[in-house]
Amino acid sequence: MSTILEARVLVPDVKLFRVHAPKIARKHRAGQFVIVRVSPDGERIPLTIAAADPEAGSITLVVQAVGKTTTLLNALETGDEILDLAGPLGTPSEVARFGMVVVVGGGVGTAVTYPSAVALSQAGNTVIAVIGARSRTHLLFETELAAVCDEVHPCTDDGSFGRHGFVTDALADLVATRKVDRVLAAGPIAMMAAVAETTRPYDVPTVASLNPIMVDGTGMCGGCRVSVGGVNRFACLDGPDFDAHLVDFHLLEQRNRAYAGWEAARRDELGPCAAVPVVVDGAAS
C-alpha cells in the first residue's frame, strides 16, 4: 500500500498524484514507469514517473482517465492508498549532451516527457518543448516545462492558445530552421508516428516513449512486445523508449486495440459520464 500525499485535478480528466514511495523515488531515472493496481480484482497498469523527490520520498504520477482502472485511480484523493505500486521499471531514457533537443508531448504524454526535459537540461542541452492539447483548458505542464526548458511551444487543435495546429506543425518548422540534434516524443500513437515522419527526412535521431498494453511490466509475459527495425522487443525491459524511425507504429496501434470492445463495456459499467473516450490530442492524423 502506498499513501497518496497529494491529489489534484490538472485539467479535465487528468489528475496529478504525489505518492509516498521513498525507494522508488531514490532509484528513479527519467523515462521509467511504475505498475499500479488499485483494487483486489484490478488490472496492472503502467504509469510513467513524471517526477521524483528523493528527499520527500515521493513520486509524481499524472493520470488521464481513459478506462476503468484510470477512472478508479482518478477517484482517489489525498490520504487514500494505492493497493500495489511496483517500480521503477523500464530502461531509463538516454541522457547525454546532445546539443539541441526537442521534446514533443501530446496530451498526457506531456507529463511523460517532463522528467526527460529536466534531465536533458541538467546535462547541458538546449531543450525546446513542443506540447499539444485539444484546447487551452487541456494543456498540461506548461509552467513546469517553462521552468526547465529554453523554449516552450504550445499548440492547440482549436487555436485557443499558442499555435493553432498540431505539434508536428511546430516541430516541422523547428527541424527546418534550426539545427536540432535529437527529438523525444511521447503521446498518442498517431502523434508519435507523425513525429517520426516529420524528422525522418532530416535524419534527426528521434526517440518515442511507447505505450503498449502491459501485464507484469517485468519481462514475464511478452504482451508488451513491439516491432523495432523488424525485431521484437519487450517495451517493459528494453523500452519504453525506442528509435521512432524503426518502430512499427501501425502494429502498436492495432495491438493496443486488442481489447477495445471489452474495455468500453467495463468503462460503461462505471456510468455514462465516468470517462471520456480516448482523445487523440495534438495528433497529426
Partner: protein
C-alpha cells in the same frame, strides 16, 4: 498389513486416483483429482514390497524416504508419515500433485517394470493434505542468530530456502516482484491442478514462523543485489528468480492479436483471474473459438486445458515431435485428452495469418517426420517438404519454453552466467561467483521442476547457514 505375502501384494491392482468426470470438470476451475480416502491410501501402501534396496528413493531428486513413509501410511500412521516426508520435502502437498513421478520416484519403483508402480505421488499428496487439514503445528523457532538473509523470488526455490533459514534461526525477508506470492505455483500452474489455497497455506505457515514478505519489490530495479548486501544490511542473498522470459517462435504473424505466450495467457487467467466476471483484466474471448497451443510440456497442457475451461472449441495442441517425446506429465496428457484437447503431432507452425484489423485467423502447419537422433537422444524433427495443413484459429498460445529474465542479471554484472544466460552456481551449495550470493531453481538450471527448485533452495539454505556461522566465527 504385514501379514500380506509378497505374492499377494504383487497381485493387487493399483488404487486409481478418483477424479471428477471430464465433462463436468472441463466447465470449471475446481481441482480435477479428488484425492485418496484413508482406506484407498492404506490399500495402495499395502502394495509396497519394502525392497531391501528401495530404488524409488534414488529416483526422487530430494531422496524422500519413500519406503518408510509408505510403510507408515500402510499402518495408518499418517501424521508420522508426514513427518518422514517433511524431513526432505517442504512442500509435499505441491509435489504430490505436480512432480513428474513417472520419470522420478515411480519410474524408479521396482514395480514400474510391470506397469504397476506404487502411486507414491498420490500417497504423498494424501499424507500432506491429511496433515494440513488437521492443522499442522508450527515448529518452535531455533535460537535467533541475528543474521539477516534476503531471498529474492517467492517460487518453490525461494519458499524452501526461506523455510529452512528461518528454521535455523536467521531473519528472512522474501522479495517478490509481483503482487502475489508463489512464483509459477501462483501465476503458472492452474487452480484445477494445484489449488491456490495450498500454496497460500504454505506461505502462511512461513509467515507464522517469522518470515517477512515484501511484494511489488523488483530486485535489480528498486534495490540491487548490492543494495541488499550493503544499504539494507543483509548478510547473504539467495536468488530464486526463476526463468520467466517467454520464448517466441520467430515466425511471421506472431504479433497478431490473439497470439499469446503461455505465460501471458496463464498470467491473465491465473494471477489476474480473467476467468471470473469480477476481474478487470481482459482476455481475448475464447468461448466457441478455435485455439491452438504450440508445444507439449506441462505449460502447453495447462494452457490447453485452461482454454477448454474458457469454452474454447476445438482446442488443439500442435507438437513438432511424436507422441513418444511429449515432455508433459503422463497424467496431464491423459487428462487433457479426456477433456477434449486434440493432440496433433509431427507438425510445426510456419506462419500465422490475420485479417485487416490484425486479428489472428489461421495458422499454417508444416508436417514433420523424425530424423536422426539429437545430442539429447531424441530424434530430431525435420520438415516433410511441401506438406502443409492450414487450420483456422482465433487464439494461438506459444508454450515452447522460457529463458532467464535479464532484469536482475543486467543489474548484477558481476554474477557469472552461462551462454544460456543462466546463473552459474555450485550444485551442492548454490554459491555463485559473487560473495555472499547464492542461487537455485530455474535461474540456475533453466526451466526444470518444482521439486528440483525446492531441493536447490534447501541445499542453498544449508550452505547459507554454514556461511553465516563461519562468518561469525571468523569475525569474532
Amino acid at each position: 498389513m504385514s501379514d500380506l505375502s509378497r505374492r499377494e501384494r504383487m497381485k493387487r491392482a493399483p488404487v486409481a486416483m478418483p477424479e471428477r468426470a471430464p465433462d463436468v470438470r472441463r466447465t470449471d476451475f475446481e481441482e480435477v483429482n479428488d484425492g485418496y480416502t484413508p482406506e484407498m491410501a492404506v490399500a495402495e501402501a499395502e502394495r509396497c514390497l519394502f525392497c531391501a534396496r528401495p530404488t524409488c528413493v534414488t529416483g526422487c531428486p530430494v531422496g524422500v524416504d519413500i519406503l518408510e513413509f509408505v510403510r507408515l501410511v500402510g499402518a495408518g500412521e499418517f501424521l508420522e508419515a508426514a513427518d518422514v516426508i517433511a524431513a526432505d520435502n517442504s512442500m509435499p502437498a505441491v509435489c504430490g500433485r505436480v512432480c513428474p513421478q513417472e520419470t522420478q520416484c515411480e519410474g524408479a519403483c521396482v514395480l514400474a517394470k510391470k506397469g504397476k508402480p506404487i502411486h507414491i505421488g498420490h500417497l504423498e499428496r494424501f499424507v500432506a493434505d491429511h496433515a494440513r487439514n488437521l492443522g499442522s503445528t508450527v515448529p518452535t523457532p531455533a535460537a535467533r542468530t541475528g543474521k539477516r538473509v534476503a531471498v529474492v523470488g517467492s517460487g518453490p526455490a525461494g519458499i524452501a530456502c526461506a523455510g529452512d533459514l528461518v528454521g535455523a534461526g536467521h531473519e528472512v525477508t522474501v522479495f517478490e516482484a509481483l503482487h502475489e506470492l508463489g512464483g509459477v505455483l501462483a501465476y503458472g500452474i492452474p487452480e484445477f491442478r494445484l489449488p491456490k489455497a495450498i500454496v497460500a497455506a504454505e506461505i502462511d505457515r512461513l509467515r507464522k514462523r517469522g518470515v517477512e514478505f515484501e511484494t511489488n519489490a523488483v530486485i535489480g530495479m528498486v534495490d540491487t543485489v548490492d543494495d541488499l548486501l550493503t544499504v539494507e544490511g543483509f548478510d547473504a542473498v539467495f536468488l530464486g528468480v526463476g526463468a520467466g522470459l517467454p520464448r517466441f517462435l520467430d515466425i511471421p504473424g506472431e504479433n497478431l492479436i490473439g497470439v499469446y505466450s503461455a505465460s501471458e495467457f496463464l498470467t491473465r487467467v491465473n494471477l489476474m483471474r480473467a476467468y471470473s466476471g469480477e476481474s478487470d483484466t481482459p482476455l481475448i474471448d475464447v468461448q466457441g473459438k478455435s485455439v491452438v497451443v504450440f508445444g507439449a510440456g506441462n505449460t502447453a497442457m495447462d494452457a490447453a486445458r485452461t482454454a477448454v475451461r474458457l469454452g474454447g472449441a476445438p482446442v488443439r495442441i500442435a507438437y513438432r515431435r511424436s507422441p513418444d517425446e511429449i515432455p508433459a506429465r503422463n497424467e496431464e496428457v491423459a487428462h487433457a485428452e479426456a477433456e477434449g484437447v486434440v493432440l496433433t503431432t509431427l507438425v510445426a507452425p510456419t506462419e500465422l495469418t490475420g485479417d485487416e484489423d490484425g486479428r489472428l485467423t489461421g495458422v499454417r502447419l508444416q508436417r514433420m517426420r523424425l530424423g536422426e537422433s539429437d545430442t539429447d537422444g531424441r530424434r530430431r524433427p525435420e520438415p516433410k517438404p511441401g506438406e502443409f495443413i492450414d487450420v483456422e484459429v482465433d487464439v494461438a498460445i506459444i508454450a515452447i519454453g522460457n529463458m532467464p529474465n535479464p532484469l536482475l542479471l543486467r543489474a548484477t554484472p558481476d554474477l557469472d552466467r552461462t551462454e544460456r544466460e543462466t546463473v552459474v552456481a555450485d550444485v551442492d551449495t548454490g554459491l555463485t561467483s559473487k560473495p555472499g550470493v547464492f542461487a537455485g531453481g530455474d535461474i540456475v538450471t533453466g526451466g526444470a521442476t518444482v521439486i528440483m527448485a525446492m531441493g536447490a533452495g534447501r541445499r542453498a539454505a544449508r550452505a547459507i547457514d554454514e556461511f553465516l556461522r563461519t562468518e561469525t566465527a571468523r569475525r569474532s
